[in-house]
Each structure stands twice: as C-alpha cells, then as structure tokens.
C-alpha cells in the first residue's frame, strides 16, 4: 500500500497530466495550466504556512512582482528572452521576500500576519499609484518569452500545448524541490520550530535564519508561478499583488492540507474548479464562495484529508518520516 501511495499513484497522475492536452479541448488545457500555476504558488506558500507555521499574507506580492518584472523586461514589439527575464523575475521576488521576511519575522503570531499583509499592500500601491508599469491600468506583455539558444527556438510558448507541458515540468520540479527540502535536516528543523519554537530555540537552532531562508525560497517559487502566470495571460495588473489573492491561495492550502507538499495543488484544482462553476452560474459567486470557505474552515479543519479519511478510511499508521514531513499524497 505504501508503494502504491508513494510511487504508483503519482506516476499515474503524471501520466494522466501529460496525456491531458491530447484528450481535451484547448480551453481546458489553458485551464489546466492555470491550475498548475496557482498550484505552484500554493505549494510555495505552504512551505511557510504548513511546514513553517507562519501565516503569510503577502505571497501574492511575490507572485505579482515577478509578473511585473517580465512585463517591464518585455519590449513593446519584441519578446523578452527567457534566459534573462526568468532569473531576473525570480531574483526580484526572492529579494522582496528577503526584505519583507527580515522585517516581518521580527514579530510573531498575529502581528506577523498583519505585517505581511501590510507589506503586500505596500507593493500593491507601488504599482497601482505610480507610473512604474501602467499604474492602475496594468501592463500588457505582447509576446511570450523567447526560449531560444543560438537562434534555435527550444520551446514555442505561444502554443498552448507547449506552454502547458512547460508549466507541468515546472510543477514537477517544484514538487521535487519542496519534497527534498521538507525531508532534509532543514525541513525537519523548520517543522520543529513550528511545533515548539521554545524547545527548538533552546536546542540551538537559529530560528530567525531558518524561517527567513524558508520565506525566501517560498517567495522565489511564488515568483516562478507569477512569471508563468504573466506569460500566460499576457497581462499584469496591480490586483495580482492584492491581499485577496493571498487569502485565496491560503484557502487552496487549507483545502489541500497543510501537512503535504502536493496537497495545495489539489486545493488549487478544487478552488479554481469551484470558481469556474460558480462564475458561470451566478453573478453573486463571491457570496457562494465565501460561504464555501466558511464551511470548509468550520467543518474540514484538515482540508481534503478529512473528507478522504471519511470516505476511504484513515491512512496507514504513520512511519517516523511521515510523522514529520510527508511526501506527496493525495
């Protein structure tokens, strides 16, 4: 059973994911890309929230910032080079996470939440109120980034299929990276600090450095998602950095389950799927979504795992590894 959960199931899912674009209309391929991108963002956030125990409300800012970097780096009538714009975008997001994290981590608990929310809004206003990149109107990215070496196009991101597979590759890479981190001594220490900060500190773990590192990595991966999102839509707007987006991503994390690396990806699928259905049914979809969020918080504190346990029965008894940092499970 353990073999099935750890290897067989993910392999099957990956196979299905790769096969998807050949089986469904283009619209759904683009929707799948969107889900994967938000999944990357949610998984990045979960490193800090689920594994670090810190509720960050500014991750949309790292997400949007990377998108804006691509927009600014893309000339009006030419595509930007992937090889320069991508590292730049991710680097800027990581840098923002470094500054904000260094300041926010000086507080704890609710104040951390308030501070991250405030700094996230600061970045929102930075783009909304200044002429930096179109102000409140946002900016267009007229051409998707160029992935070429020596004049040879490696990936034509204009094609939805190629774009989707690229995003899928990034998603798998993100899962691999986060799984490695969570299982490493670093990951164990991060979770120890979450479980009992006092004890972790008195054992000698450098808590501030530990959390800041997690925060920066998380911000960088959020930047990856933001870059891809901007590339997909061809448009960035200050709303991408708004705290409502941060809160929505938190909902995905909650749905997917805080203790799993890939859970938030499932959360993204569920929430975005729900939004698709709601938006096409009623004008007041926000009201329904709000009620659903409230219901989830009140009735499914462990996210989907609660539901799955109810339907399929509880998971196998937890191994030592599983007790501290689980790998992908659905």
């Amino acid at each position: 059973m353990a073999f099935a959960r750890t290897w067989l199931l993910p392999a099957l899912l990956l196979l299905a994911a790769v096969a998807l674009p050949f089986l469904v209309p283009t619209y759904y391929v683009q929707f799948a890309s969107k889900v994967l991108i938000m999944g990357i963002l949610a998984m990045a956030l979960n490193l800090v929230v689920g594994f670090g125990g810190l509720v960050s409300m500014c991750h949309a800012a790292f997400f949007g910032l990377a998108g804006y970097v691509l927009a600014i780096a893309t000339p009006k009538y030419d595509p930007a080079s992937f090889w320069t714009s991508f590292p730049l975008a991710v680097g800027v997001s990581a840098f923002a996470a470094l500054i904000i994290g260094a300041l926010a981590l000086r507080t704890r608990g609710v104040y951390f939440i308030m501070v991250t929310l405030a700094f996230g809004e600061m970045l929102f206003f930075l783009f909304h109120d200044t002429k930096l990149a179109g102000g409140s109107d946002g900016a267009f990215i007229n051409y998707k980034p160029d992935v070429t070496i020596g004049g040879v196009t490696l990936l034509n991101l204009d094609k939805p299929l190629i774009f989707y597979l690229t995003v899928l590759a990034f998603t798998v890479a993100t899962i691999a990276l986060l799984t490695m981190l969570v299982r490493s001594p670093f990951g164990h220490a991060l979770q120890a600090a979450r479980d009992n900060e006092r004890r972790a500190r008195s054992l000698g773990f450098p808590i501030f450095r530990l959390r800041l590192t997690a925060f920066v990595i998380s911000g960088a991966v959020a930047g990856v998602a933001g870059y891809l999102a901007a590339a997909q839509y061809g448009y960035v707007a200050p709303q991408m950095l708004g705290w409502h987006v941060s809160a929505t991503v938190l909902v995905m994390v909650l749905i997917g389950g805080l203790r799993s690396v890939a859970g938030p990806l499932v959360g993204a699928l569920v929430l975005l799927g729900l939004e698709e259905v709601l938006k096409s049914s009623t004008e007041y979809w926000k009201l329904i979504e709000g009620l659903v969020v409230i219901a989830i918080v009140l009735m499914l504190p462990d996210g989907m795992r609660h539901l799955l346990n109810a339907v399929f029965g509880p998971a196998d008894d937890r191994s030592e590894e599983a007790a501290v940092g689980e790998a992908k499970h659905v």
Binding site: S184, F186, A189, L203, G204, F205, E320, A323
Partner: protein
Amino acid sequence: MSERAANASMQAVALSKSFGGLRAVADVSLDVHTDEIHAVIGPNGAGKSTLINLLSGDLHVSGGSIHLDGRDVTRLRSERRARAGIGRSFQKTTIFAQSTVHENVRLAAQAHAKSPLRMFGGVRGDAAVNRAAHEALEQTGLMPRKATPANKLSHGEQRQLEIAMVLATTPRIILLDEPLAGMGLQEARRIVELIASLRKGHAVLLVEHDMDAVFELADRLTVMQDGRVIATGSPNEVRRDPAVRAAYLGTHGDAA
C-alpha cells in the same frame, strides 16, 4: 565526550533581573563545574526559575554577567548559548509532542551537527547525529519507546525524554528546572537516578523543590530567598546555616 566536557565551568557574577519595579533576582553569584551537581533551592518566588532563564539566555539580564569557561556570554541569545554547550530542561515539559521519541532526540542531536540546516539528503544519513541520539536514548533508558509519539508517553517518561534531548546535544553545562515537578514516587526515583548519572562529564545546575532528592544529589547547594543568595556551600554546611533554617529548612522539621 569527556575530553570536550573536561573542566567546563559556568559562572554567574552579580546577576540581577528586574521586571519593571519588581526585583526578581538581585546580586546573585554562583558557579558550577564539571563532575558536580550544584543545586539551587529556595521558597516559591525566590527567583530560581528567573535565574535559570537568565543563565540559559531566555531572559536578558538587568545587571551582572555570565561566563562560560571564562568567556563572557551575557550578550548571547539562548540559541547561541545552546550551541556554546548549555542545555536546559524546562519546568513545564517542552518537547515536540507530535513527533516520536526518536525524532525528538534526533532533532536535538541535529541541532549540534556540522550542518544543522542542510537542505538536502534526508535525515537518516548523518552517522554522528544517529550516534548521539542512540547514546542519549540508551542513557535515559528510552530505547524501547523510541517509536512512540511523545504525546503518548507518561509524564515521567516525557521528563526523561526532555533530559535525553538535552544529552543528545552533548552539552557541557546542564540546567535542570524542577525536573521532578508533578512526579509520582517511582517516576521520581528513576529521574533522580538519571540525574545522578549526568554528573560525570557535565556541570549540572539543578533547581528543585524536592528536598530529599536535592540532598541526595547535590554536591553543593545554594539557597535563594527573595531574589538573593542567603547561603551557599556543601549540603551539611547549608543545613546548619541559621539564616537558611530560619527562612526555609526550619519548617521541614528535618534537623541535622
């Protein structure tokens, strides 16, 4: 282990701590060396817990200084002091409740590994960490329980676990804050024996209320009252000290 711990010493010089207008600790000096257990006793409110918190770095001193092997560590925060070789147990059991006994101890050992925050490679591979964890579990007798989640242990076993975690960090100074609090007789016996075994190779500072345990374990005794030291010396000397009798031991009726 013994080479590192040889002749370790910790000294508090004229320590004081005030919370607003309240003087919790005033002009307290003491020291503790390797291969000795130095107990600190006193009535409630004497400032014993505050003293431990000052020594561990969990509280900032208002005055005075703390030295580790002659080096002034007063300004070091608790995590730096822990890495410098100070381990402490808390009055209220402070462990990683959701993790297994083994994971708790392994984490403690990891904190003092060469790269405690290594970002790759999993946690099973470090031989030094595994060895330190193994030895700590052996010494505290928790090996048979190593796969049990910590929150399923009895109160006494949890206290043992906390000491095991301290041991896994291979400390030179061990600070124990009322390790016997809330224990039944049998559990207490086990912990007392465990503490006695800690003497060799470590400098142990023990804050306790249980007088029997204190007199059984202590090589030296310091008595505090109202934040000050009122006597210090061997257990017999302290027993006979009139100030101490008046303040504290007199009510216990156990003379001479």
